[in-house]
């Protein structure tokens, strides 16, 4: 069973390789013969051979020119259909490269393909020599015994050729499939450019999607949960104010519930602020940042200079950066008494500088806050710099590109 499957697979592969090469040979040699025609006719014209030679030359040149894209298409089809290799469509770009491929590489490949393709019938014919010899009348065979020996040698040689053909064919197919896509398709450079474009686009999409999601959550919390909590707290507050003749235990319970509801509102608004405040969408970075600065536990001086609003994704990242930076200052900057936030737009760059007067020694390598911040900045191709010598002061500078 095992041997049969292996044999079948080998045969399938051989059929595939053989047809690939057999198809390749005329395609390649067509171009070679066309070019040979051009060459020969050109000599003829120079030599002043015939009146019709220039006209024939013109025909052949036009045929050659039209053959280049047609042959490219045919080669692409051959690779895709038989090998499953997709050569990127070069279209009409780089016609010289295509011409070079079809003439120079075509000559090499065409010859090799033709040789391999011929080896199969040749091998078959050789290996069958003994059969031919036995088909000849016995008398003649006895009279010429040396032919029988030669026929045996030839048969062995034919079998060897046949045995070698699959390997040769496979090697040639591999060789072609490695060389041709780079010659005929896009260059590596073009591929990289295309890839970078694709990646940039898909990443921008991902960033935008995450932003939209944040905004949606913020809105849901604001319009749903928070409203309900406020109204709950309000009702508890009313109960507290009106039900004055309750037993002290009941009052305590209402008091506690009221307090908890208010704390829940505070927590919820804190959460929402960290996500994506509505004010950022409606009124922009300037208004949202002033809210951050006001809520920071230490005095913050905020200066903004934004003649135009940046793109929403950039605004969101900028807001996040300042929010994280101020949280970091409040949490980790030792002996910091104040912070400065400057946001300016310099042409296509939004620059944020956040400084504090603490003792410094902050390390971007440690601490998930700074790592997350740097990652978020990189998500929009921004740059993140930090200087925090021991003894202070700490300065963080973030540049975000914003073309619009």
């Amino acid at each position: 069973m095992k041997i049969r499957t292996r044999l079948r697979r080998a045969l399938t592969r051989l059929t595939r390789d053989a047809s690939f090469l057999a198809l390749g040979a005329p395609l390649h040699l067509l171009m070679v013969s066309l070019l040979a025609g051009v060459y020969g006719l050109l000599w003829g014209v120079i030599g002043g051979a015939d009146d019709s030679a220039p006209i024939a030359l013109g025909f052949v040149v036009v045929a050659t020119v039209f053959c280049v894209p047609a042959l490219t298409v045919a080669q692409r089809w051959r690779f895709r259909r038989l090998l499953g290799i997709d050569i990127p469509r070069p279209g009409l770009r780089r016609p010289w490269r295509q011409l070079a491929y079809h003439s120079l590489a075509g000559m090499l490949f065409g010859t090799l393909e033709a040789v391999v393709a011929v080896l199969i019938p040749a091998g078959l014919a050789l290996s069958l020599t003994t059969v031919w010899v036995y088909a000849i009348p016995r008398k003649w065979r006895i009279e010429h015994p040396e032919y029988a020996t030669q026929a045996a040698y030839l048969s062995v040689a034919g079998l060897l050729v046949l045995a070698a053909v699959p390997y040769l064919a496979a090697a040639l197919v591999r060789f072609e499939s490695e060389v041709v896509p780079t010659l005929l398709g896009r260059s590596r450079e073009e591929d990289l450019v295309r890839r970078v474009e694709d990646l940039t686009e898909s990443r921008a999409g991902a960033v935008d999607a995450a932003d939209a999601e944040r905004r949606r959550i913020e809105r849901d919390l604001h319009d749903g949960a928070q409203q309900r909590l406020v109204s709950l707290a309000l009702n508890l507050g009313i109960a507290k104010a009106t039900l004055v003749d309750l037993p002290p235990e009941a009052r305590e319970v209402i008091d506690a519930a009221h307090r908890e509801a208010k704390e829940a509102i505070e927590e919820l608004s804190g959460l929402v602020r960290g996500l994506h405040p509505a004010v950022l969408d409606e009124l922009g970075l300037d208004a949202a940042l002033s809210g951050l600065a006001a809520r920071a536990p230490l005095p913050v001086r905020l200066r903004t200079d934004l003649p135009r609003r940046p793109a929403p994704a950039v605004e969101a990242v900028a807001y996040f950066v300042v929010s994280e930076a101020l949280t970091n200052v409040a949490k980790h900057a030792r002996e910091a008494t104040r912070a400065d936030v400057t946001v300016t737009r310099l042409g296509g760059i939004l620059r944020m500088v956040i400084t504090d007067d603490g003792l410094g020694g902050a390390d971007p390598g440690r601490g998930s806050g700074l790592t997350g911040l740097a990652q978020r900045v990189r998500s929009v191709d921004g740059t993140f710099r930090m200087s925090s010598p021991v003894g202070g002061p700490t300065m963080m500078s973030v540049d975000l590109p914003c073309q619009n």
């Binding site: 604001h222 319009d223 928070q226 409203q227 309900r228 406020v230 109204s231 707290a233 309000l234 009702n235 508890l236 507050g237 009313i238 507290k240 104010a241 009106t242 009221h258 509801a261 208010k262 509102i265 505070e266 608004s269 405040p277 509505a278 004010v279 409606e282 009124l283 208004a287 002033s290 809210g291 600065a293 006001a294 809520r295 005095p299 913050v300 001086r301 905020l302």
Partner: protein, 212 residues
């Protein structure tokens, strides 16, 4: 007059407003309804949510500003989900008395909210401490830099709309101490002695960065 799109909260607000001794002439759920109801009932005070249908952005503020123009005698108390000092500044620039701007969550402290309601209805101001804090961030590089931390606190409470007695209670100091601080603030802000109340408003205005 109450304009608030969340039904639950509106019901609660109606209760509180009635507890404060006001009569609720109408309750509406959007800015258009608010303007129509103001024309119809001519209320003394309107409590308005900033975010209302259809756009859920600043419909309430725009409606309030238009009420300010058409019926300046209507006191306005705006309730907002978040602090946006520009809204407060817009309102104050239009007119400085009978204006309030509070965070929605403040209504949970019923007594304080009722106090703010009365203050605004009586022609005073009621600004949310968070609004005041944000304005402080903005105006940190002008004559206000000369004030001491305590004086800033006092000025912030003045800006919230509190009386001297209210400030004294909040800071746990005597009323005369508050008066002393206020005098010092007025001197530092170069506000000449004239009508005492007027100077107080000017100081707050300068603090808020509107007018003056």
């Amino acid at each position: 007059m109450i304009a608030e799109d969340s039904v639950l909260l509106r019901m609660g607000l109606v209760k509180v407003v009635e507890m404060a001794g006001f009569e609720v002439a109408a309750e509406v759920g959007d800015a258009e309804g608010l303007l129509a109801a103001v024309e119809e009932h001519r209320p003394d005070l309107a409590v308005v949510d900033v975010r209302m249908p259809p756009g859920f952005t600043d419909e309430g503020v725009r409606a309030a500003l238009s009420i300010r123009r058409s019926r300046p005698s209507t006191a306005l108390l705006l309730l907002s989900q978040y602090v946006e000092e520009r809204y407060a500044a817009d309102l104050l620039a239009a007119h400085t008395s009978g204006v309030g701007y509070l965070l929605k969550q403040r209504v949970a402290d019923v007594e304080e909210f009722i106090e703010a309601l009365r203050r605004v209805a009586d022609g005073g101001t009621a600004l949310d401490p968070q609004v005041v804090a944000q304005l402080l961030v903005r105006r940190s590089n002008d004559p206000l830099e000369r004030l001491t931390a305590r004086e800033r606190e006092v000025l912030a409470l003045m800006a919230e709309g509190r009386s001297n007695a209210g400030i004294a209670a909040q800071l746990v100091v005597s009323e005369s101490a508050v008066a002393k601080h206020i005098n010092s603030i007025l001197a530092k802000l170069d506000l000449p002695k004239a009508d005492a109340d007027h100077r107080r408003v000017l100081a707050v205005l300068r603090f808020l960065g509107v007018g003056a």
